[in-house]
């Protein structure tokens, strides 16, 4: 600002510049000074600075040092976990009212220190308005208060770790930590560098608000490996991550095999479409673009899609509005070369630029830039460069606009602009993203669930929907922890099946040869191989196909083809299909009970009971079909907000050994009821009841491909499911190694995983009780993804 102070009134009178904005950081500075510019770890309700630790420097926008933080070691993790474990009990023993009070007090403490919070966020380059944090505290105070009455069958997970990457925003980090606390968990926050200082301050304010010591700890480190180290601690029951994709992948690989469920919010790496239809208020849409696309710190990366008929008018307005906009600092110095290269490449491919000014020859700032006339195949659209650069695509019809928006590996959010209500609602329905903002963008409120589809994440944060990740059904035991085995990820499940010719069979009673069910047809395995199915005594009961990669491929192709239509069917039509499936099952009840009896050695009476329960279960699920439909959310702003459960897509299921028919029917029913297609792999040990069930499927009116059943080697089929990108979720019951393999390999492309190590569950008394009715809700919540829709009104 050296030159600016010498500017005279007359200079400014002519140039009409805004002038420097005054920003003070004195409150935050004095807080940092109190801590001698070196913040410790926040463990057991206080700052601790163990000696002999490495430290990390937090810098401000100018690169100057603000403060140092401690890099936690194994000892610090243990200390924090042991205090968390005992604090969890005390915290969970409090009444809902007592917990709610803490959050309400936090809201007023935050208001009291809002200046300090906002300055500290600004200093550490993660600008956050204290009002959004106050809103978080107040919103979740309500959920803390009514937890027991509104979610009576659920219990907190225990100790929850919340991990953020260096570029993760404070809001998205605490959108996980605060609900986890509100549900009664103890929480360890592992923030990234930009959120470290505000997170430590928040922890201190939580204690001031009366949170018992140890319930919340904040551990800082040097990189993502700290998150993985925390996950490896045996006290942690759940880990959730928010941030960029690279760090998320690393975390997935490092946590594989530890038996901790991990969920990911990868909004930071997501590319979101901003679609302007010809029926839009173009000026407001352009305002929206200008506001969101050229920020220094962006929560979302956008691709602008404009209907051809209004292309010129959008471009003209962008050009006018962008003149005079200042260059935006890039996050890293190295970004400049990337941006230059991307812009140059786009130009070589014929793109024209709208640029607010010519880029400075060097340095880490770049002017807001729109790349006009690029296509989806251009590198700058596939992965937009960092910095204030926005690719602009055109489309012809409304339907093509949606297709363009959907044709992406990402599925975080979309902003659509139209004054046509019908178009807006149709478009919102067809976009496969977690959030749709109509005539608005980037709305973040805790009552609106944020959830990613496809590569954008597996976690749902916010709203009632986002609370369940921090809870488990009371009747299901906590997931057992494990330690990783040495799994060769490259060769897992790759053993070839060998054709075996049945020997020594008694010619008078040749065991039956079953077929599998792929794409609505009964088929042999593609390889032609079969496997023998043995009963409890070891005698060969039957032969089943030894399915493999190609069978999975065929089943997934059929599923992918039929699933969109199945999802679009009316819920009541899906309910009718499930009722008829239940009736067919009832008709074949005897055959199936016999197969259970023969396969598992269970008494015929017990087996019949399981079949009967399965029929009930299908009735239950059919009844749910058109009943549970999300809801209307209430936001402080004026408008209409909806949260809508939708189908995930194609789900792969590796069925458990226990309750072979009841588990199959429960998982199949829940998945199909909400509109998914499933590819099911029966238990390798007890496939017979599932093979018998194929007849029920053949007789049903489910469209071909909605359900496929493939038998064979569990590991081989797990590997095949993991390797197919169309499959969006895998529910797995099987070996510890299988769980580890899936955690390790399903992070890119990302899949939703629901993993159960049967051997570990047996040690703990057998895992979930398939007969319990509360199971229904748990499975149903696994089978849906949430979409939130926001239509603001005046």
């Amino acid at each position: 600002m050296a030159g600016s102070t010498t500017k005279t009134v007359h200079d400014i009178f002519q140039s009409m510049e805004y002038g420097p904005s005054s920003s003070s950081s004195s409150t935050a500075q004095s807080w940092l000074d109190q801590h001698s510019r070196s913040l410790g770890l926040f463990i057991d309700g206080k700052f601790v600075s163990p000696t002999g630790r490495q430290s990390r420097t937090v810098t401000d926008a100018t690169g100057g040092s603000v403060c140092t933080t401690v890099c936690a070691t194994e000892d610090d993790i243990s200390a924090s976990m042991s205090s968390a474990t005992s604090a969890y009990k005390a915290w969970n023993d409090l009444s809902c009212y007592q917990r709610a009070k803490v959050f309400l007090r936090l809201a007023s403490v935050l208001q009291k220190h809002s200046q300090c919070v906002s300055e500290l966020c600004e200093l550490s380059q993660s600008p956050t308005s204290p009002a959004t944090l106050v809103r978080l505290a107040q919103y979740y105070a309500g959920w803390a208060q009514i937890r027991d009455t509104s979610m009576p069958d659920w219990t907190p997970r225990g100790v929850v770790a919340v991990v953020g990457s260096d570029d993760c925003s404070l809001y998205s980090l605490w959108l996980k930590a605060i609900p986890a606390l509100a549900m009664g968990n103890a929480v360890t926050v592992i923030p990234g560098v930009a959120t470290a200082l505000p997170s430590l301050l928040l922890a201190q304010l939580f204690v001031e608000a009366g949170l018992p010591s140890g319930v919340l700890s904040v551990l800082t480190g040097s990189d993502m490996s700290l998150g993985a180290q925390v996950a490896q601690n045996s006290q942690v029951n759940y880990l959730t991550y928010s941030g960029n994709k690279q760090d998320g992948e690393m975390l997935a690989k490092q946590t594989a095999g530890w038996g901790v469920p991990v969920s990911y919010s990868l909004s930071l790496s997501s590319v979101c479409p901003l679609i302007i239809f010809e029926s839009a208020d173009i000026d407001s849409a352009v305002d929206g673009v200008i506001e969101t696309a050229f920020k220094k710190k962006r929560e979302w990366r956008w691709v602008l899609c404009v209907q051809e008929s209004v292309w010129d008018s959008v471009v003209a307005r962008l050009r006018l509005r962008m003149t005079g906009m200042k260059s935006v600092p890039l996050l890293a110095n190295s970004d400049r070369a990337v941006v230059d290269a991307a812009v140059q490449e786009a130009q070589q491919q014929g793109a024209t630029l709208i640029q607010s000014c010519t880029p400075p020859p060097s340095g880490s700032a770049y002017p807001p830039t729109v790349l006009c006339g690029v296509a989806p195949s251009c590198a700058c659209v596939v992965s937009p460069p960092p910095g204030p650069v926005l690719p602009l695509l055109s489309f012809r019809s409304n339907a093509e606009g949606v297709t363009l928006g959907n044709h992406s590996p990402h599925g975080q959010a979309a902003s659509i602009w139209t004054e046509d209500l019908t178009l807006a609602l149709e478009c919102a329905k067809s976009l496969s993203v977690g959030s749709v903002w109509v005539n608005s963008h980037s709305i973040a409120d805790p009552s609106l669930p944020l959830s990613g589809r496809k590569e954008s994440g597996t976690s749902t944060d916010g709203g009632r929907e986002g609370l369940y990740q921090f809870l488990r059904p009371t009747q299901s035991p906590p997931l057992p922890r494990s330690t990783p085995s040495s799994v060769d990820y490259s060769s897992f499940g790759s053993a070839e099946s060998r054709a075996s010719i049945p020997e020594g069979a008694d010619p008078s009673s040749i065991p039956r040869s079953y077929q599998q069910f792929v794409g609505g047809q009964q088929k042999k395995a593609d390889s032609g191989c079969t496997k023998s199915v043995s009963g409890p005594g070891g005698a060969v009961l039957a032969y089943c196909p030894d399915g493999g990669r190609k069978d999975v491929r065929n089943a997934v192709e059929a599923a992918a083809k039929v699933q969109p239509g199945w999802m679009k069917k009316s819920p009541s039509a899906r309910a009718q299909s499930l009722y008829s499936l239940a009736n067919n099952l009832e008709k074949r009840g005897r055959d199936i009970a016999t197969s259970i009896h023969k396969q598992t050695g269970l008494s015929l009476e017990e087996a019949s009971k399981e079949v009967e329960l399965s029929v009930f279960r299908l009735y239950d699920l059919a009844a749910w079909c058109d009943k549970e439909r999300g809801g209307v959310q209430l936001l402080p702003q004026s408008g209409s907000a909806l949260s809508i459960p939708e189908a995930i897509g194609v789900v792969g299921v590796i069925l458990p050994d226990r309750k072979p028919i009841l588990s199959l029917v429960s998982l199949l029913g829940a998945a199909v009821a909400v509109g998914n297609a499933v590819v099911m792999v029966p238990s390798e040990k007890y496939p017979l009841p599932s093979l018998e069930f194929i007849q029920v499927l053949v007789d049903s009116d489910l469209p071909a491909g909605v359900v496929s059943v493939i038998t064979g080697g569990r590991d081989q089929l797990t590997h095949a499911l993991a390797n197919h990108s169309v499959i969006q979720a895998i529910w797995y019951w099987g070996s510890k190694e299988g769980c580890q393999f899936l955690q390790h390999s399903c992070c890119s492309p990302l899949k939703r995983l629901w993993l159960h190590s049967e051997e570990e569950e047996e040690k703990q008394g057998g895992g979930r009780d398939w007969t319990h009715p509360s199971l229904l809700e748990e499975i149903w919540r696994e089978a849906v993804v949430w979409k939130s829709l926001w239509i603001p009104t005046a």
């Binding site: 009134v9 009409m16 002038g19 005046a794």
Partner: protein, 318 residues
């Protein structure tokens, strides 16, 4: 003044396609109100800019030659000379943009300004101000007489009945006739936005007024219950931008009614800068219709220069 807007043929297809999303406009207005102008010399410079854009106005039943005379002289020397001098702005021709009076007072104003050797334009409201509910013939006559008396700017009011009922062609014809009656005098068209019902109607009325050759579009008469608000201004300046992008003609904007504080005048300037760019930050394309605003601005400038807060009596009255 800059090149005039000759107007274009009425384009009803354009008018019919207008879409305005109310909540987005309200949000934008909030954003603009949050836009901070720098302190100290930045604030002083911006306030002086606001002074040069003021149409210093008196529109009261008890206006007489003597208060009009005072107004005219204040308009020619709006900020105390010593204050301007200490900012080195005394020789930069700081006056208000114009004075604005009722048709019957035009002659008085012209006389006072002439006597003071000032070329400051005199603006007159006309066409049955403020309601516009008089016959077209007398409204046209009113314009002609004001021009004859020496007004070089005419602030006309539109026929709200036509705008509310969507008779755009009829409205266009009326405004065309006013424009003809104005001759060389610049025409500012008052939409009386408080009475038009919706933002979409405001946008459409703005377009039709510009098509009919208005040099400025103006929010309100100051006599309606709802006057110049930021959201409605955003709708109008967007219409100006739209018209400019299609025809290349630049039309000015004049908010009026209820603008009283220096702080508000800064927001108005920021709004113009954000939406239309620096070119619209001059009296050629931007006016503030106000009477008591100037006193507050002068006090703020006094504070910048002296570091003290002025009593009203320290600054010359209008």
């Amino acid at each position: 003044m800059s090149a005039r807007n000759p107007g274009i043929d009425l384009d009803l297809e354009w008018v019919s396609k207008v879409k305005v999303n109310t909540q987005a406009v309200l949000k934008r207005a909030q954003q603009i109100q949050g836009r901070k102008v720098g302190k100290k010399q930045w604030q002083a410079a911006w306030l002086l800019k606001a002074v040069t854009c003021i149409d210093l106005t008196t529109l009261a039943g008890d206006d007489t030659p003597s208060n009009v005379h005072r107004l005219c002289l204040k308009a020619t020397q709006p900020v105390r000379h010593d204050l301007l001098k200490s900012m080195d702005m005394h020789d930069k021709g700081i006056t208000t943009a114009a004075v604005c009076v009722y048709p019957s007072r035009v002659a008085d104003a012209v006389k006072s300004l002439k006597a003071a050797n000032s070329s400051l334009p005199v603006a007159s409201v006309a066409t049955g101000f403020p309601a516009g509910q008089t016959p077209l013939r007398t409204r046209l006559e009113e314009v002609r007489m004001a021009v004859e008396d020496g007004a070089t700017e005419i602030d006309i009011v539109i026929n709200r009945t036509m705008a509310i009922t969507g008779q755009w062609a009829a409205l266009y014809d009326e405004i065309r006739q006013f424009r003809e009656a104005c001759g060389d005098a610049h025409m500012k068209t008052i939409l009386a936005v408080g009475e038009l019902g919706t933002f979409t109607n405001v946008y459409k009325a703005s377009l039709v007024s510009m098509m009919a050759g208005s040099d400025f579009i103006k929010t309100s008469t100051g006599k309606e219950s709802v006057n110049a608000t930021y959201p409605v201004a955003i709708v109008m300046v967007r219409a100006i931008r739209d018209y400019y992008l299609r025809t290349g003609h630049k039309v000015g904007f004049k908010p009026a009614g209820g603008i009283r504080t220096a702080q508000e005048s800064l927001v108005w300037l920021a709004l113009m800068k954000e939406e239309l760019g620096n070119e619209w930050l001059s009296p050629h394309l931007f006016r503030l219709g106000a009477s008591s605003l100037l006193a507050d601005i002068e006090r703020q400038i006094y504070h910048f220069v002296t570091g003290r807060y002025a009593a009203y009596h320290e600054l010359p009255m209008a």
